[in-house]
């Protein structure tokens, strides 16, 4: 077994530099790599490009990096819940590449799987397709989208083992598996790190080969953005 563990978040982020392209898992605040984000803030890494479906909220998630003006460019599908994001984008301080959500996921998966590009119907006829090759297959139009290239990928899993195998929980899975192995170095933080052999090999969501560094995260807040409930009758 190849041991993928590192001692802590500091070791996990070694090599992260200003100007890098970073992938970050999560959907809204669900399943985000909270420890890695906190460390990026602490390190004061600047001018980074972040590939992430959302940009957190004003005071949590990637919103923390936005507040510190650490982000040069965001590649996301949705920014609806973040006022600071919208402000920086409309003022031109922040470069933003809005990408359809399924295209965003597949651009990660293509990088993970060694596909240079793929054809998707999403965005055909819209400004997303401007400057991109379009092509007809079987009477339908498609846009050619290229795989992402990133330096680091930060993901959050529920359980992981020392071999780097990951299991996600509920909808906290989202973009995390697609981003594993999609960057030069994939860093996974987990709620529970167990010795290799404890996880059922049949139930691994992401095999350790896609993960370079894994560590036991801590102090997860797991904030809820929209607490919606029903009352007992």
């Amino acid at each position: 077994m190849i041991n993928r563990t590192v001692a802590n978040v500091q070791e996990a982020l070694q090599g992260v530099q200003d100007g890098m392209i970073l992938m970050l898992g999560g959907f809204g605040l669900c399943g985000i790599p909270e420890n890695a984000i906190a460390e990026l803030v602490k390190l004061g890494i600047k001018e980074v490009t972040c590939i992430s479906n959302n940009a957190g909220v004003d005071d949590f998630g990637l919103g923390l990096l936005l507040q510190q003006k650490q982000i040069k460019k965001m590649i996301s599908s949705y920014v609806g819940e973040n006022d600071e994001f919208e402000r920086q984008m409309l003022s031109g301080e922040l470069e933003v590449e809005l990408t359809p959500q399924g295209t965003l996921a597949e651009k990660c998966r293509a990088a993970q799987a060694g596909f240079p590009a793929f054809y998707t119907p999403a965005g055909y006829g819209t400004e997303v397709a401007e400057g991109k090759e379009t092509r007809e297959f079987n009477g339908k139009m498609y846009v050619l989208e290229e795989a992402f290239k990133a330096d680091f990928s930060f993901v959050k899993a529920w359980k992981g083992d020392t071999a780097g195998n990951l299991i996600f929980k509920g909808t906290a899975r989202n973009f995390n598996p697609c981003m594993c192995g999609a960057a030069s170095i994939t860093v996974a933080e987990v709620e529970e790190l167990v010795p290799a052999g404890e996880l059922d090999p049949n139930q691994i969501h992401i095999p350790g080969i896609f993960v370079q560094r894994i560590f036991q995260g801590n102090n997860y807040e797991k904030r809820i953005e929209q607490r919606t409930v029903r009352t007992r009758e």
Binding site: F27, G28, L29, C30, G31, N53, S76, S77, Y78, V79, G80, E81, E86, M89, L90, V96, L98, P100, Q101, G102, T103, L104, A105, E106, C108, R109, T120, P121, A122, G123, Y124, G125, T126, E127, V128, W158, F168, K169, G170, T171, A172, R173, N174, F175, N176, P177, C178, H205, K222, R223, I224, E225, Q226, R227, T228, V229, R230, T231, R232
Partner: protein, 217 residues
């Protein structure tokens, strides 16, 4: 005239037994509350869940179980969780039978705009571009006019598009319309709404054939 709940109730009549359905944020989310009796449908949310149930009871919210609107949810027996790539495989691969979503503008040729007002508002397209480019069966749920009273059913969209020629049906507070070759075909009127009311609120070509029935809810 319908309120948002009424729109959702009318759209719920479009559900068919065995349908896998993706509901957008806003009015579409309400559709889940009005599933006709005797049919089984399953709701997919593009953040990675199939088989969504109602909101959780207070105190039972799980931060790791949300829908695409970031609302806490529950799941029903037979549910599954999956990653974003798999989620859009369901959508792009046409395994989802019906997509219901909101819009800022719809054009008579089926174009839809719902993600951006240049220089003013940019929410992002989220999964909407994938959904509208892929689904065979798209219903738009929206108010017939915007806050300034201007029609949202246009000859041509003025806002940046989300997708081209994809909308099949529209349910508004005033009417049910089908997108056909030459424009919006009026299928039903909302209770108490006249054909003239609808005509006045519709900028795009409105096609009226024979008597237009009032919808039943």
């Amino acid at each position: 005239m319908l309120d948002k709940t009424g729109i959702a109730r009318r759209i719920a009549q479009e559900l068919q037994d065995g349908y896998f359905v993706n509901l957008g944020i806003g009015i579409p989310t309400l559709v889940a509350n009005y599933i006709p009796e005797g049919i089984d449908v399953e709701f997919q949310s593009e953040n990675g869940v199939l088989g969504m149930g109602p909101f959780p009871f207070e105190g039972e919210e799980d931060a790791d179980v949300i829908n695409a609107g970031k609302q806490t949810i529950t799941t029903l027996a037979g549910a599954s969780f999956f990653d974003s790539a798999t989620s859009f495989s369901m959508i792009r691969g046409k395994h989802v039978d019906l997509t219901i979503l909101g819009a800022m503008e719809v054009a008579a040729n089926g174009d839809i705009a719902n993600w951006k007002i240049p220089g003013k508002m940019v929410k992002g397209m989220g999964g909407a571009m994938d959904l509208v480019a892929s689904a065979e069966n798209i219903i738009v749920a929206m108010m017939h006019t915007n806050k300034r009273g201007e029609s949202k059913l246009l000859k041509q969209c003025s806002l940046p598009l989300t997708g081209v020629g994809c909308v099949k049906k529209i349910v508004t507070n005033l009417a049910v319309l089908e997108v056909v070759d030459k424009g919006f075909k009026l299928l039903e009127r909302a209770p108490g709404v006249s054909v003239e009311d609808i005509q006045n609120a519709t900028e795009g070509n409105l096609i009226i054939e024979g008597d237009v029935p009032e919808m039943t809810l």
